[in-house]
Amino acid sequence: MSDNENTNAVRSKMWREEPEPDNPFATRAAYIRGYDVYGEMLGNARWVDMLYMLFHSEAPTPAQADTLEALAIALANPGPRDASVHAAMCGGVCGSTAASSLMAALAVGAGQLAGGREVFLAMENWQACGTDLEAWQQRLMDPGTTPGSVWPAPEHPPGFDPHGVRTTTVVKQTLACLARYAAGTYLPWLNENLDAFEATAKAPLTLSGVAAIALADLGFSPEQGEMMHLLLRLPGAAAHALEQHPLGYKKFPFGIVELEGPELKGQS
């Protein structure tokens, strides 16, 4: 564990900072992909432009920015019934700190059911299969598992609802809206071929499934898409956590448990 001259520098293709002349620890200017963030982008750019450029080397086209903006709205609040928002509310209702409520939302919103991992896996599938229905059929039949992974083994095709009856109105509305911007090829194709696509999985498409496709259309890698999904779903968790705090824990559902099996074991 030795260090030489350059090991203490963080290397980045994305971000550059120039110091103030009187303080090497203060920033005079910060550039993202060459654009002056505080000198030029403030007041001129949209938040989605900034978000897009954090992950891509170029600024988004208007269609890409609009798609990202609509996707951000679609994902912003999964609603209190969603596991991640429920977890954040468990923090908020008992006065846990703001950051721990968001950590709870992240932890619970990270998994393979409607979470970041589901988007990652779905995006891997899109990378492998594209718009080839036969390839989809084969891949969904034999999803393969990663032995020794920290993730629980997948229990349903990613991007589809294991408990769903048919495509929900919300999913159809989001898909139709995003497809109209035509930022890529997958969304418009899927909007036309939804029935056939869902038949390959024998389950309806979910909102995280739509998010995966939109993120793939916007040129995000599966790793980036997972991050985006995690980030974009947090505002609702934050708002509901704040909302529950003044309502108090007595109004918040606690549930009832029913112990199974022998009630008490090993009692003397």
Binding site: S2, D3, N8, A9, V10, S12, W15, E20, N23, F25, A26, T27, R28, A29, A30, V37, Y38, G39, M41, L42, W47, M50, L54, F55, E69, A70, I73, A74, A76, N77, G79, P80, R81, T97, A98, L102, M103, L106, A110, G116, G164, V165, T168, T169, T174, C177, R180, M227, L230, L231, A238, H240, L242, L247, K250, K251, F252, P253, F254, G255
Partner: protein
């Protein structure tokens, strides 16, 4: 446990109407009365929607523009920031995405540059208003809140940079741009009184100070502003973490230690 708890979630933010054939999926979701997927999706901007989510009403054009600006100013604190550094440290070792963001949250939540600092600075705005004498009194001996006690003691006036010499250019630029959009209120007062306030604090204004003034100006509560600060600082942490993972841990600074109490290789030496 015999205590009476609620049976349902109560919310004035969110309402869901079930699909006729599945009580566990929503056919429509209403945010503060607006149909999110049927109406808002293609009409509202993201910032407008966030404002609706937190504040219950649509923002005016100026408010939306100010929030847009604030979200961009906060989006990437840069790799030198503790929260981004923590995210990169998680990312470079291949920790899962959510762990990366949890690391960024934990390190971006405190009273040095984090969400807590914005909250504390906003409480100072509530206490001092736009009265210079109040501020001067407060800044000469800032009182830390007595609860909750697990937060480490604040070591500087919240909203100011303890290690700064003069206010950095990016902070000044952010303040000026915000003042252009919101010419009345706390932001403008801050810009006008900045020299006097910095003199009282003995240190220059920091980004958290501008952010706190902006959220105060926009009628957000300290708790709401703390949440939004936490949220809006995450994208940069996410992007830098992925970038470092791609580059690999050998390129990532490891730093060196100067161990001040090394017992040496034998190590069994008793210490008092």
């Amino acid at each position: 446990m015999s205590d009476n708890f609620g049976e349902v979630f109560h919310s004035h933010i969110w309402e869901e109407k079930a699909e006729p054939d599945n009580p566990f999926t929503a056919a429509a979701c209403y945010c503060r009365g607006y149909d999110v997927y049927g109406d808002l999706l293609s009409k509202a901007t993201y910032i407008e929607y966030l404002y609706l989510l937190f504040k219950g009403e649509r923002p005016t054009q100026e408010v939306a523009a100010a929030l847009q600006l604030l979200a961009i100013a906060l989006a990437n604190p840069g790799p030198r920031d503790p929260s981004v550094h923590a995210a990169m440290a998680a990312g470079v070792g291949g920790s899962p995405a959510a762990s990366v963001l949890m690391a960024a949250l934990a390190s971006g939540a405190g009273s040095y540059g984090g969400g807590r600092e914005v909250l504390l600075a906003m409480q100072a705005w509530i206490d001092c208003g736009t009265n210079l004498e109040n501020w001067q009194r407060y800044l000469s001996s800032p009182q830390a809140p007595s609860r909750p006690l697990f937060w480490p003691q604040t070591e500087h006036a919240p909203g100011f940079d303890p290690h700064g010499v003069t206010c950095s250019t990016i902070v000044t630029q952010t303040l000026q741009q915000l003042c252009r959009i919101l010419p009345d209120g706390q932001l403008n007062w801050l810009a006008k009184e900045q020299p006097a306030l910095e003199k009282a604090a003995g240190i220059p204004l920091a980004m958290t100070g501008v952010v706190a003034a902006a959220f105060t100006n926009l009628d957000f509560s300290p708790a709401e502003a703390e949440m939004l600060t936490l949220l809006w600082r995450l994208p940069g942490a996410a992007a830098h973490a992925l970038e470092q993972w791609q580059r690999g841990f050998r390129q990532f600074p490891f730093f060196s230690l100067d161990l001040e109490n090394d017992p040496g290789v034998t190590g069994l030496k008793e210490k008092t």
